[in-house]
């Protein structure tokens, strides 16, 4: 395969607070190939959002601290200074966020907000050209009557349309990687489908790699090629999407799949929620973070932390002692 687009190694993002150290991301490593769509799944608080923010170094670094290596096209993002980072953001790596209602600046027109990105990264373009590009992008994300609507303000758009605008902003400079942090969680189900389809289509068209963060396995099933499953700041399983659904290896993945209804389930099958409490990130117990809730737990699990190792076929890896 070609060189990795994004190569994250031993990423740790800790937050130093009065109450203690919160290990939001605790030694995470993964790669993304050019043009690939990677899904990152997990429940609230598992560290998926923080991982994404860490890649862009958008984490507040007084309470937070990022260690590890983040190689983008071979360059280590951790070595870059503020100027270089701002060059990178928005042009090579873009990010869209969860809540479209608050992610756009209410006092600027949406055309302006798109054009602003263009002007920032394309010094060769004039104001008019940037505006033109903004309108082009609005067309691309299927905002009707783009030319006129570019002059509207965010409050004049619905949630779904605002998210499209966010996508337009993110893709305006043709980034190589788009990070989408729960982009459809705040939208109605029907709109969700539209937005996901748009993202899928555009990423195919422009060869953009996508890191899609979500807690919704259904979203993952429809859009991703690879999936990382995260729990308590660790990646517990990573595999091509088909294998995650057909042969999940890690007990947590299994639990997740069993706790949501499937179209092909038989009638009368009960949903089995995962017992126990969410993990304590301030004082994590030693060993596997899932041990307190794992139905397959062994004595070993509570003492040693399992590493990701290949299971099943192909590229599937899981961090568990169970298959042993």
């Amino acid at each position: 395969m070609a060189e990795n687009l994004l190569e994250v190694s031993n990423l740790k993002t800790y937050f130093f607070t009065r109450a203690g150290v919160v290990k939001a991301v605790d030694d995470v490593s993964f790669t993304i190939q050019p043009g690939e769509t990677l899904g990152v799944v997990g429940e609230s608080g598992c560290g998926k959002s923080v991982t994404a923010l860490s890649v862009m170094r958008l984490v507040a670094t007084p309470p937070g601290k990022i260690t590890g290596d983040i190689l983008f096209n071979g360059d280590n993002i951790m070595d870059k200074n503020m100027d270089e980072l701002t060059e990178l953001r928005g042009s090579k790596i873009s990010m869209i966020f969860q809540d479209p209602m608050t992610s756009l600046n209410p006092v600027f027109t949406i055309g302006y907000q798109i054009a602003e990105t263009v002007k920032r990264h394309r010094k060769d373009m004039s104001k008019d050209q940037a505006w033109k590009r903004a309108v082009e992008m609005l067309d691309l994300v299927r905002i009707p009557d783009a030319k006129r609507r570019a002059r509207n303000y965010p409050h004049e758009f619905s949630g779904g349309m605002r998210q499209r605008v966010m996508i337009a902003i993110a893709l305006a400079c043709n980034p190589q990687l788009l990070i989408a942090d729960e982009p459809t969680t705040a939208l109605d189900v029907t709109i969700q489908a539209q937005v996901l389809e748009l993202m899928k289509g555009l990423s195919k068209e422009f060869g953009t790699a996508v890191m899609l963060i979500t807690h919704d396995l259904g979203v993952v099933a429809g859009t991703c090629e690879y999936v990382n499953v995260m729990y308590a700041g660790h990646i517990v399983e990573s595999a091509p999407v088909k294998q995650i659904f057909e042969t999940p290896a890690h007990p947590y993945t299994v639990g997740l799949l069993h706790s949501i209804p499937r179209l092909d389930d038989q009638r009368g099958i009960r949903l089995t929620p995962i017992g126990g409490q969410p993990p304590d990130l301030l004082n994590p117990p030693p060993g596997c973070p899932y041990a307190p809730r794992c139905p397959k737990v062994q004595a070993r699990c509570r003492q040693e932390r399992p590493e990701l190792k290949p299971v099943g076929r192909g590229e599937q890896v899981a961090a568990c002692f169970y298959p042993d």
Partner: protein
Amino acid sequence: MDTKDQFNPPEAIMPDTGAIPISPDITNPAQSLDLPAPLAIDEKKLQKPPVSPFRESLQRLRRDKRAMISIGIIAFFVVVAIFGPFIYQHVDAPPYTSHVDGNTYPATVYRSYYHSELDRQDELPSNQYWLGTNEIGQDILARLMQGILVSLAVAVVVEVMDIVLGILIGVLAGYFGGWIDQLLARFTDLMFAFPGLLFVILLTGIFGTSADSFFSHIPVIGPNGNARLLLVSLALAFTIWPLMARYVRGQTLQLKEQQFIEAARTSGTTSVRIILRHIIPNLFSIVVVAATLDISNTIIGEAGISLLGLGVQAPGSSLGLMIADGSQFVNTHPWEVLVPSITLAIIVLTFSFFGDGLRDAFDPRSKD
């Protein structure tokens, strides 16, 4: 002066030099990152008996050092104002023979706030006059204590009216709506149209002298130039109750929508009972906080009015009057103007801190 306190500074977020602060709430880090709160079970908490929100707020208040110190200082001023003159007039207080008229006066007279010895002007602190004398030979300490008493008395009177009127009209307007609400709104608009003390200045300016003669025969308050204080109090109360009523109305509206009120209504409780048993007790926090800040403004208001010559008249004393009198001699005898100024500043700052402390204790959300 009315809408000063609408905006509270939030707990500051962490500064950073180029990354995104994820609104960290330092005391609860997990919350800030959209992580679940650590569920480590607190054994100790399970053993303590459940505490009513009111008690909890009181506990919070007790822990707030700033508020506790403020209460102490206020208590100190109250004691000084009430018992100070008596103590002062009986400690190290031999009778004094005046060189002006030859009479011998006991300390209860020459250390009173209205007595003047014209040959003892502008003196610095001495054994006889602990804080010295002013430009007509009056005892500064005695006048100061009287001034503090006036400030506190006016504050109490005004605040009682403020609270009573504010709660009465506010609850009626909020609970029943309709014409009472409309009337309150119009009235509030009108009072807001008179900026700050303008209404008080107008009222005391025009009716001041007749108030003097009208009230002068009332014992205790009447004589010695204090008669006008009643008018001043009425005028000040008139200007500040609309804001209190607005707060109360707002809170009543919020409470009205809550389910426990609906429950009471469906079980047949009369409106009066609902108001008395459910609504008014829940107004406590907002009323107390607003009242403290109103007290602060009232004290400033009374001092200001007296400073302009429209409040307490000579030979009475008010902190404002002392400042006005003393400011003419700031060149030669700065002592006379600094004493009441600093005292007033301390009183006002103390009430301000106390109000802040109360607000933090009773409504911790407003810290955010």
